[in-house]
């Protein structure tokens, strides 16, 4: 029986060996198509898609690198100190007080009353704290804002009463709104004091102008927004309106405020009793 089978196979092989080889080759083609061509095609498709994404990412990064290099030489960036001066990243309490003094000196008015509640005073290094590396861009709501909209700024509110000649009081208001940091008067009341006949008779020609007292509430703004930086994020663009404002703020009067960076005097008493403290400071 077995012998017959062998003979039959030999007979079949001798007569149809090409058919047998053809079947083997077709089987080989099937194997190649299934285990080589199909996976390779899928892989190529995947790589091409990844390739496209990476190309776009690279283009974006190259574009960003070029933009960053341009930013360094741009006019806006060169004059960014002015923008920081107009809208500082810390509570501009000292700047505000200096400005009030500056405006008062310039317009020859005197302060009758001054009330403010600045709360916590941020350090000048607040700029660095505003950089949010881990979370998406957040905004902080203005504490005293009455609306529900998110604000990227806050303000210090100061109530003050001033006294001076009417035109000087009006000039004080104008000057105050033109000094950096950005300040606006939100509440204002003026009382013109009529001079009595006796006062008019005793006053000199220079004093003939009317004296006014004014109470006002002013707001000085500062920046509070945090930002997220990632190398793939796009650079923000400057619109026409922002450029117009950039030109406009150059016209604002500079504040007389100067950050104190050196010790003015070392004539101090060692109130804490720390050994050699005064000598060290000297």
């Amino acid at each position: 029986m077995k012998k017959n089978q062998e003979q039959n196979f030999k007979l079949f092989y001798n007569n149809r060996k090409y058919l047998l080889f053809t079947v083997l080759l077709i089987w080989l083609c099937g194997v190649l198509a299934l285990f080589v061509i199909k996976p390779q095609l899928a892989k190529i498709k995947e790589i091409r898609s990844e390739h496209g994404e990476k190309n776009s990412e690279l283009e974006l990064l190259v574009h960003k690198r070029r933009e960053l290099a341009q930013v360094l030489t741009s006019d806006e960036f060169q004059k960014k100190e002015k923008v920081d001066e107009v809208l500082p990243s810390h509570k501009p309490l000292l700047e505000l007080l200096t400005n009030l003094n500056q405006a008062a000196k310039k317009t020859k008015i005197s302060f009758v009353n001054l009330e403010l509640n600045p709360g916590l005073i941020a350090s000048p290094a607040a700029d660095l704290n505003l950089e949010d590396k881990n979370t998406s861009t957040r905004t902080r709501q203005a504490k005293k804002s009455t609306s529900n909209t998110n604000k990227n700024y806050d303000y210090i509110e100061v109530s003050l009463a001033i006294k001076g000649q009417t035109q000087n009081v009006e000039e004080f208001m104008r000057v105050l709104e033109k000094i950096a940091p950005l300040t606006t008067i939100t509440d204002f009341n003026i009382n013109n004091q009529e001079k009595t006949r006796q006062e008019l008779q005793s006053s000199t020609a220079a004093d003939l102008s009317q004296v006014s007292t004014a109470t006002m509430t002013i707001l000085t703004y500062y920046y509070t927004q945090t930002i997220k930086i990632s190398s793939s994020s796009r650079m923000p663009s400057v619109g026409e309106e922002e450029l117009a404002i950039f030109e406009k703020i150059q016209e604002l009067l500079p504040s007389d405020f100067q950050m104190q960076t050196t010790l003015q005097s070392t004539d101090l008493e060692d109130i804490f009793g720390i050994e050699n403290l005064v000598e060290k400071m000297k």
Binding site: L19, L61, L68, F77, I185, Y223, I229, E242
Partner: protein, 188 residues
């Protein structure tokens, strides 16, 4: 003796079949070679693309490193742009107030004063306290305020709280909100 070939027709059939098989075999060899070449080509292409993608990844890393060096510049620039946007917003808000005060200051007779201002910056509502030296001047002011040329600049304009002060002057509150499209607004 005569030779009789009983398998003559069978041999002819087998020869014919063998020829046909050979032809099919040749075709299948061609297909197999094509398949092998295609497989090799695809493997080569995969290798090339992988290599190219690797080079792009490398370039991305290098560029990212370069950008990282500019990180502080980028942060400063973003702060600058954000600040400019906020300043523009604040200038717009206070421009309403400044425009209205300037407008009324020039509109009213010289002896009529703006003696008080209250500005609700979020809502854009401005209250002005107008003081007139006598009742006739006050009537003049009311006539001016009724003019359509004046009203057109404001979305709302209401008068209230008319009173005679202790110093015999007359005052009233003028509450208004400026039309954003009004040509009065400028960022001065």
């Amino acid at each position: 003796m005569i030779d009789i070939n009983f398998l003559r027709y069978q041999k002819q059939a087998l020869t014919k079949q063998a020829k046909k098989d050979k032809q099919i075999f040749k075709i299948s060899v061609g297909i197999t070679i094509a398949t092998v070449l295609l497989s090799l080509g695809l493997i080569g292409l995969t290798f090339f693309l992988n290599n190219h993608t690797g080079k792009i990844t490398q370039k991305i890393s290098l560029t990212t490193e370069e950008i990282e060096k500019y990180k502080e510049t980028e942060a400063s620039y973003i702060f600058l742009i954000n600040k400019l946007k906020i300043i523009r917003e604040l200038f717009e808000l206070r421009a309403d107030k400044q425009a209205a005060i300037h407008f009324f200051d020039n509109l009213f007779p010289a002896d009529v004063e703006i003696s008080g201002i209250r500005y609700e910056i979020e809502e854009g509502i401005l209250s002005l306290k107008i003081t007139s030296p006598h009742i006739f001047r006050l009537e003049e002011v009311f006539t001016i305020l009724k003019e359509p040329n004046i009203k057109k600049h404001f979305l709302t304009m209401n008068r209230s709280n008319l009173k005679r002060e202790q110093n015999a002057k007359y005052s009233f509150q003028l509450v208004l909100s400026l039309d954003k499209n009004s040509d009065l607004i400028s960022y001065d």
